[in-house]
Symmetry: C2
Subunit: 318 residues, 2 copies
Amino acid sequence: MQTLVQLPSPEDIRQSHTLIQPYIHRTPVLTCQSINAISGAQLYFKCENFQKIGAFKMRGASNAALRLDQEARKKGLATHSSGNHAQAVAKIAQSLGVPAHIVMPENAPSVKREATAGYGARIILCEANQAARESTLAQVLAETGATFIHPYDDYNVIAGQATAALELFEEIADLDAIIAPIGGGGLMSGTALCSTYFSPATKIYGAEPEQVNDAWLSFKSGVRTPHQGLPSIADGLLTNMSEKTFAIVKAHLSDVFTVSEAEIVAAMKLVWERMKIIIEPSCAVPLAAVLKNPSVFAGQKIGIILTGGNVDLQKLPF
Amino acid sequence: MQTLVQLPSPEDIRQSHTLIQPYIHRTPVLTCQSINAISGAQLYFKCENFQKIGAFKMRGASNAALRLDQEARKKGLATHSSGNHAQAVAKIAQSLGVPAHIVMPENAPSVKREATAGYGARIILCEANQAARESTLAQVLAETGATFIHPYDDYNVIAGQATAALELFEEIADLDAIIAPIGGGGLMSGTALCSTYFSPATKIYGAEPEQVNDAWLSFKSGVRTPHQGLPSIADGLLTNMSEKTFAIVKAHLSDVFTVSEAEIVAAMKLVWERMKIIIEPSCAVPLAAVLKNPSVFAGQKIGIILTGGNVDLQKLPF
């Protein structure tokens, strides 16, 4: 198996799934009658909140790591992230018995530092700005020879994230639509490729917070456009799309929806109360979009990727 | 199918399962590697927090209602409860298209009143004491001819609650032990009968809060003994066992464990954080007992009935 350096093919996605299977959970697809009644649609939730490390990021990081040859693996893995991708890189490195070097801003919550360190990773703190993250990472790469695993701008990561939709399509036939959240676009572009290849009649939608609307701006204008940098409770979706991910989003999506902060919190609370499962705010964004747009979704069979469940129980928004 | 008036047989439990199946969810059995590592045991969680109305109570109430003849059903169902049993009686009555009359203390949280009323039940408020509950219920029964469905002191309810363990044994072979919480004892006695009949090599354990230790007092002394009436965060377990349920507990359990309030909260938080599922405090009591007693449970295959997930998100204990 080799590192993917061009747009993943259907076969690349299938091979990625086979490759990562021993390192991930096959997560369940859940339904909820009362949320179906509220939405007027039949919703199929792919529960990546139950994935290892609590998020879909385990799929992409595993695929990128497992496609490295033995020599590269031995030198270790590296990334800059304070979120779920950091834990995913740390976890797959631990599983493979190789070092992980994670660059985090010095203001990252201690709970996230501890979770990542708990998988045996070395944490390197840096100043809380993009330039410091990049220069610190460059220094780590130079010193260690480790391979940088980008959180989304990498075809190996995109093909790995695509496997969540692949499992969903294997279980649920004839989905009218599939919807995922858009941050950097790794999950969204993987989901879009997978749907295009394996379920071509399924429409593909993305959703993001109004306050972090780079995907909406970019999709509607046709030109990759960054957001204004406002905050959002959906802290997994603050990143702008990359060239690679936007190209796929532009080519394959039917539409991108934005939702308000209040709509995100309401959808998150609905899932907690009715489904009795824990999802993080970023994860609630697609359901919020479905609830906000009944004219698009009512009466249809919709696949929703629930992306993660890593939430600080001491700081709940309700 | 007839109302059960004596100790349920193996065939009664099997028939109850067939009878209620169209009205309940078959809930999943989940495992969690990190909680296995913490406990040193292999734990199989039967997730009744995903059951209809969010708790196992749906099983017993459904069995009691479905065993009534058409004439009795038409006159409706009644109970006194402010908890999950109230919602279960309301829900099965709604499914059968018959009236439900639920007596609740006037200080019951409005969220619980609304949930029960949401299933179309008539709520009758009474003063917050046992005498008022009983006399108000008696008046409702006299006026309506409805059938009283007791939350636990009823063989139909016990046989219905037994079906959770039945499904668990169907999926997971060779459990060394099974453990459930004890409130009034309906779930515990049903679980004990089911285990005795269908998996006789499996040891049967109960768990309850230290502050509500009637099962422990009764089991250890051999004489049914009420608790002192202290409060507990495990608000589903405040009831004392009945004659029917204690007789089964006494005959079949290997031991009863008690846990502190802090141990309950810690076990609840562990499940939320590691399994990403929502359980109520009462539901965490058996896991708390397993974590507290490694000398009993380590190295074994343990079935744990997770009883419910109805928790007020505005009033979390952590």
